[in-house]
Symmetry: D2
Subunit: 436 residues, 4 copies
C-alpha cells in the first residue's frame, strides 16, 4: 500500500547515542521522561508540508532541482503527495504536521473552485489522520505567492484583495477546525511595503488591525478553540513587513486591542533576520505574555535572506528550549520544522535524514535545557543578582510608592554611591557548556 | 572677548548656491520662507554639546586625536568649553543646542557635588543664552558612561543604581526646565542586556516602565512643559537595548500606559542599525502618533556600529524631511546634529565646516521635500492608489461593520477575482529625482 | 511593423532638466560633450536582456507577476521577445545590449539542439542589429540556472559538468564574436560552495583556474578581440562564491597567471553584498589594473540579497563615475543596467520609465564627476596630502633604496616624532556636494 | 612571592568532564595524546597580554570598568602587570603568551625612550620566562593606537610616519627575536582608509608592499627564524583595511612577491566581520598555502563590530580545528586567545574562568576534529564526491592537455548530458553532530 517513494526504509527508531545509523535517533526517545513529561509531549514535533513536499528546489538564480513524482498541478498529484507525506510522518514517528492551503491542492480557476479542492483534500487528510494518528498542529493560508497578493493581502490598496484574503482565511480556519488543528497561523509575508513612496503606512496598519479583529471574532463565533498565532518576520519577500519581530507585534496587538487573543509563532530564521537571537525573541514573548509556538530551523548568520536550514547547532538550541521551558513549555504550540533541504539534497533519503538530524538536535537541546532548569544552573545566579530588589524600599520604588523627588532626596540623604558587581558572563557561558 | 579658538573666522552667512566659500551657506537661508514658514523655524537646528565639544576622537583601537584647550576635568575648563561652544553657536547662527550633564561639567566625588557643579554651569549657560539668544532644544542625563551604570540605569539589578539614576534625571530635568529647554530626552544606552544568561527581561522592563512613569509624573508636578522624548537604538553599547526602534518603543509605552505622554527622538544612525531606513522610522512614528524630534546624522551603511557622521546625502535627507513635513513638521522638536567629526578632522575649522555642510544639506533636503508637498508629487499618486477604499462597502469593511463570514459570502457571490495594478516604484523614484 | 507592445510611445528625447515628461531625458543628452567626449561615448549604455525581457517577477515567496506576450518556451516567442527588445533599445536610444544564451532562446533537449537554437537567434539578432545600429556590449553563458550546474560549472565535482560548461562557453564566445561583442563576461554564480563539508576548495580553485585559462587560450586562437571579464559577487546563489570581490579575483588571476588577460565587470549590488562601496571596488580595480566594465544598478543596503534595483542616488553615482573617469574611462566596457523592475511594476511603460530614470541619473552622476575632475576638486587636495612623498629621502624609502635598519637609524638620529594633520573629510564631502 | 592578585587560587588542573569546579579543566588534559601528539602540542595555547592585562573595559559609550592595581603609566606598574601576567600563565598552565610593545610598557616621550623602556621590560620578561617556562608565541608592534598613526602607519600620507613605523617594527622584531618568539605578527589596523575622498589607494598599497618587503628582508638579515604573519581584518577601526581577508592578503602578497615569505594569523572575529565563517578563512589559507596561526575568539554574529569574546560554541570550533588539522596542524603558529572579558566581568576570578572555559572548548573542538579525521568521517564522502576526476580524460582536462575546442567536440560527440547528484549536506551535518 506504500507509494514506494522511500524504498524499503523502515520506521526510524531510537538506537541511542552510539548508533551510527543515519536513519536512527541517537537522542530523541519519544517516551523518555524529562521534567515529568515525555519528550514527545515536550517537543511536539511537526513536519511542514510546504518545504518538505511542495518546494521544487529553486532559488533566485536557478530553477527546480527536485524531481518529485507528485509535482504537477492536479488533484491526483495532490493525493499522491499526501500519501507520501503521511508515509514520511509515520516513518519519522512525528505527532503533527502543518500546512497552507496552497501546498496541499492546486489552486482553482475561481475562489469557489479552490475552496472545493481544499475541502476534497481535507477529506483525504481526515482519513489518513485517523489511520496514522498524526495530528494537525496548525493550518494557515498562503496569502503571498499568488500575484493578486503582490501588494499585500489585508494591507492591499485594493479592498477586493482584502475581501479575497478574508474569505480565504475564513475557509482555511474552517478546514483547520474540521481537522482539529490546535492553532491557526497568520504569516504576513506581503503585509508591509516595497517602497514608502507608494505606501500609506497608517492606513495599512489599520487595515491589518481590522483584519485580525475579524479573524479573532470569527474564531470565537465559529467555536474554533485553537490559538491564533502571528509569525513575525522583518522583511523578505517585502522590503519591510509590519510584523517585524515579537516586540513590534506586541505593540500592534496592543494598538488594536488583541494582546489577549493572539500569540506569536517564532521562527529562528526570522529572529536572525530581525537582528535578534532566537532566545531573545522567545524571552521577549515570555516577558510580554504572547509566546505560542516555534518554527525550528536555522538561518545562516552570514546570508541576508531566509535560508531555512535544518537546525543543527545544539548549544544554540539548548538556549532556545531553555526559554521555552522557562516560560512553562508549549501549550497549544509545538516544534515545527519550517526548514527546507538544501537544493542539492536530491534523494528521498535526504528528506528523512534531515528530519532525523533536526529532531535529534532538538532532543539534545531540550534535554540540556531541562537539566539546567532542574539544577537551577542559571536561575540560582539570576535570583542572586537581583536580590537587592527584595528589600522593602526597592519594592516600594518599583510599585510606584515613591516619587522621583522622594527617591532623589534619599540618594542625597543616604549618600548613595552604587558600586558595580561582576556580571559573570563567562562563568555562566561555561556553566551552559557543562550541559551542552 | 572671544576665546580666539576659531581665529578670525566671521559668522557664517548665506551666499547662495554658487558660492565656493567653505564657510558660507549655499542653501541655508534662515529667513527664506517655505510652506509659509521661515527655514530656521522649519529646521530648528541644534548643535550637540557632547560630540562637538567633549569627544576626544578615540575609537576602540585608538586614543585621543583632538587636542582641545578645554580638555581636562576642571570647572575652569568647563567654562572655557562653554565659551567656545557659544562662539560656535553664534558663528553658525543656530538657534539651539542640546547637552548631557556629563558633557558640560566634570563629575564630582559625590552625587551632591556633581549636582552642584551642574547648577554652576547652568548659571553660566543662562548668562550666555541671554547674551546670544541661543536656546536649549533639550537636556538629558548621561546614564551610560560611568561604570556604575555598566549593567543599566533604570534596569540595573541593583536598586541603588535605579535610585541614583532617578535622582540624576530629576536634577537634569530641573536644570532643563530652568534653561527653558523645549524637550527632555532619555537615551537608554545601558537599558538592555549584554547576555540573556544573567538577565530577567520581564523584571527589567517593569523597572524601566516604572522609571518612565516616575519621570512623567514629575514632569507634570514640577511644571515642566517640554516634551519627554525617548531615543530608540537597537544595540551598541549593549548587545540589546530595550528601546530598539520606534515600533518597539510604542509597544513599551502602551504596556506602561505612556503612549500619550512620551514621544520619540529618532536618529538616522540608530534607524540604520535597527535595519530600517530613517524615513521608515519617521513614518512609523507618524503612523503611531509619537513623533517628536530628530538627530540628524548619517551612519555608514556598511559599518555595523554607530558612525555618527555629519549628513550629506541630500536625496535621502529629502525623504526624511518629507516624512517630517507630512506629519506636520516639528512641534517642540528640531534637527539636532548628533554627529561627530571624523577623528582625523583635527582643526578648529573642521568643526565649523562640518556643521555648515550638514546644515546646507538639511536645507536642500527640506526645500525639496516642501516642493514635493506643494506639488502633491507623491501624495496625488498615493491617493489614487488607495481610492478603492473610498467605496461604501470598503469603508464598512474597514469600520468593522462586516463580519468575516459576510465578506467571504460576498467574495463568492460576486465572484471577486482581484487583478493587481502596477505599483510604479521606478516612476515615483524618478519623480523624487526631479526634486533632489 | 512594431509589435505594439509599447503602444504609441515615441522615442525618448532629451528635453532638459525642467521637463516633467516621464518619458523624456532631463539630463542625458547623448551628444553633449564632456571632457572632450560625447556623453553616449562616455556612458556606453547597455540594456540587459535577462532582467528586462526574461524575468517573470518571481521572488522566493511568490511566482510570476509579469505577463509578457512572449513568455513560453518556443522559438516563436523568442523572436517576439527579440522584436520587443530591439524596439525598446530603439525607443531608448541606447547603443548597446547584453545577453546570456538562456535569455534569448529556449533550451533544447540536447546540447546540440540548444546550440542550434542559439545560432538561429543569433541570425535573427544580426538582422536587427544591422537595421537598428544597436551593438552588443557583451555576451555570456548562463551556467547557473539549470540543475546540472547546481554544484558548480567549472568547479563541479563531476568532470562532465566541467566539459559541458566548457562547450557552452565556447559556443557563446563564438556567437559573441559573430555579433561583434566587445567583451565576453563570466559570472560564476555557482562557482563556490553551499557547505565546506562537501567541498575541496583547493581542487575547485584549480578547476576554475584551468577553465579560465582554456577560455583565454581559445580567445586568442579564435581571433576574438573583445575583453574577457569576470564579474565578482560574494554569495547568493551559493553560500560562498570564489569570485568574491575585486581583490579576491585579482589574487585568483595572479595565482593562475591571468592578471594581464582578464578584467572585471563590477556590479554595484555585488559590491554592496561584499561589504564594499561601489567606488571602493572601482578604485581597487584601478589600483590593481583590472578595471573593465560596470553593471549599474543599486542594492538595498538593508536587504541582504541582490535586489538589482534601477539606480537613482545621484551623489553615490557621481562618486562611482569619478572612479571610472579617474581610471581613464571605459575602454571596451560600458554601463550595463543589470537591474530589474520591482515585481509590482507591471506595465510596459514601467520598463521604459525605469531605464529613462536610470540613464538620467547616470548622466547627472557622470557630469558631476567630470566637473570635479576638470576643477581638480578632489585631486588637488589629494596631491597636497601626499606631497611629503616627493622628497628625495621618501622616494628612496619607497623605491627600496633604504633598509629597515637605515630607516630606523634615521628616526633615532633625527628625533622624528610625526605630527598628524587633519584629514578634512567633512570639507571634502562638502566639496562633493557642490557638484551633485 | 605571589602578588596575591588571584588570592589563594591554585593552579588549574584537569578534573575530567564531570567536574563542576569552575577553575578546573573538564576537557583540556595537556598530556592527552590525540593523533599521535599531546593536546598541548596540538593547541599551543597563548594568552594575549593586551586584552587580558591592559584593557580597561571601556566601550564607545563608557569608560573604564576594570580596576587593576597595575593601571597607570609607570614602569613600576608595568612590572607589577608582568608579575600578575606570569602568575596567570602559570595558574592556567599555558605554554605561550603574545604581546604588543604598547601593552607591556608605557610609551616614552621620544622614540628612543619608548625603545629603552621596551628593552627594560624585555629583560624582566626574560627572567620570568626562564623561571616559569612560558614561551613567546609572537610579538607585535601597536601601530594603531597613538594619534600619530591615525591616518595609517606604512600607508600614511606622511613619509615620516612610515619611517617611524618602520623603526618601531624593527625594534619589536629585535625584542621578539631576543625572547625567542616563534612568530612576528603585523596587524594593519590603520592600513586602510576612512574615506576614499582623501585616499590614493594605489600609492598606499605600494607603500604597504614596500614596508612588508623591508620587514621580510630584515628578518632574513637579522637571523630571526620565526614566521612573519599578517592578520587580516576587513574594517574597524578604519572604514576599510587593505588586509581585508585571507584571499585579499594572498593577492597582495602575490603582487609584491611575498607569497612564500608571509603567512596569515586568522582571527575568528575578523573572519565574521568580513562575511566569512572562520573555517572558510582557514580553508582558504590552506588552499592558498599561507596558513600560519589563529586568534581564537568569538564574534557576536549580530553585532557589527569586533566583540572579541571568549569562544564557547564547540560545534563551530570543531569545524575550525578540523581545517587546522586537515592542513597539517600548527607549525610555528598556535591558538592565541585574542579575547577580552565582557566589561561587566570585574573580578580577578573572571580572568581565569574565561580562559579555562575557552581552553576547554578548544580541547573539545580539537578532539572532535581529530576523531573525524581518524574516522575519515568527512574525507571519505569527499573523496567519493570528486572521484570522477580520477578518470584519465578528466585528469587530462585539468592538466591543460585538452583545448576548449576539444572538450566541446567531445561533449557533442559523446552526447554528454550530466545528471546532478545529491550533495548530502544534511547527512554530513548529522555526521558532524555525532562528534560534537
Amino acid at each position: 500500500m506504500s507509494t514506494g517513494y522511500f524504498g524499503d526504509i523502515k520506521p526510524v527508531r531510537y538506537e541511542g547515542p552510539d548508533s551510527t545509523n543515519p536513519l536512527a535517533y541517537r537522542h530523541y526517545n519519544a517516551d523518555e521522561v524529562v521534567l515529568g513529561k515525555r519528550l514527545e509531549d515536550h517537543l511536539r514535533f511537526a513536519v511542514a508540508y510546504w518545504h518538505t513536499f511542495a518546494w521544487p528546489g529553486g532559488d533566485p538564480f536557478g530553477g527546480q532541482t527536485f524531481e518529485r513524482p507528485w509535482f504537477g498541478e492536479t488533484m491526483e498529484n495532490a493525493k499522491l503527495k499526501a500519501d507520501v507525506a503521511f508515509e514520511l510522518f509515520s516513518l519519522l514517528g512525528v505527532p503533527y504536521y502543518c500546512f497552507h492551503d496552497a501546498d496541499v491542492r492546486p489552486e482553482g480557476a475561481t475562489f469557489a473552485e479552490s475552496a472545493k479542492r481544499l475541502d476534497e483534500i481535507a477529506d483525504y487528510f481526515e482519513g489518513k489522520m485517523a489511520k496514522t494518528g498524526v495530528k494537525l498542529l496548525w493550518g494557515t493560508a498562503n496569502l503571498f505567492s499568488n500575484r493578486r497578493f503582490m501588494a499585500g493581502a489585508a494591507t492591499n490598496p485594493d479592498p477586493d484583495v482584502f475581501a479575497y484574503a478574508a474569505a480565504t482565511v475564513k475557509h482555511c480556519m474552517d478546514v483547520t477546525k474540521r481537522l482539529k488543528g490546535e492553532n491557526y497561523v497568520l504569516w504576513g509575508g506581503r503585509e508591509g511595503y516595497e517602497t514608502l513612496l507608494n505606501t500609506d503606512m497608517g492606513r495599512e496598519l489599520d487595515q491589518l488591525g481590522r483584519f485580525l479583529n475579524l479573524v479573532v471574532d470569527y474564531k470565537h463565533r465559529s467555536g474554533f478553540t485553537g490559538t491564533i498565532l502571528i509569525e513575525p518576520k522583518p522583511q523578505e519577500p517585502t522590503k519591510h513587513q509590519y510584523d517585524y519581530d515579537v516586540a513590534t507585534v506586541y505593540g500592534f496587538l496592543k494598538k488594536y486591542g488583541l494582546e489577549n487573543e493572539v500569540k506569536v509563532n517564532i521562527e529562528q530564521g526570522h529572529a536572525i533576520l530581525a537582528g535578534h537571537s532566537f532566545e531573545h525573541e522567545l524571552a521577549t514573548a515570555n516577558a510580554l505574555g504572547i509566546f505560542g509556538s516555534i518554527d525550528m530551523n536555522r538561518n545562516d548568520y552570514q546570508s541576508g535572506w531566509d535560508t531555512d536550514q535544518f537546525p543543527n547547532n545544539v548549544p544554540e538550541m539548548a538556549l532556545a528550549y531553555y526559554q521555552v521551558l522557562a516560560g512553562g513549555g508549549f501549550k497549544s504550540g509545538g516544534t515545527n520544522f519550517d526548514a527546507k533541504l538544501r537544493r542539492q539534497s536530491l534523494d528521498p533519503e535526504d528528506l528523512l535524514v534531515a528530519h532525523v538530524g533536526g529532531m535529534d538536535a532538538c532532543a539534545r537541546g531540550l534535554k540540556a535545557a531541562a537539566k539546567m532548569i532542574e539544577d537551577k544552573a542559571l536561575s540560582a545566579p539570576l535570583d542572586a543578582r537581583y536580590a537587592g530588589w527584595n528589600s522593602a524600599e526597592a519594592k516600594a520604588m518599583l510599585a510606584g510608592e515613591r516619587s522621583l523627588e522622594q527617591i532623589a532626596a534619599r540618594v542625597v540623604a543616604d549618600g548613595i554611591e552604587p558600586q558595580p558587581k561582576s556580571g559573570r558572563q563567562e562563568y555562566l557561558e561555561n556553566v551552559v557548556n557543562r550541559y551542552v
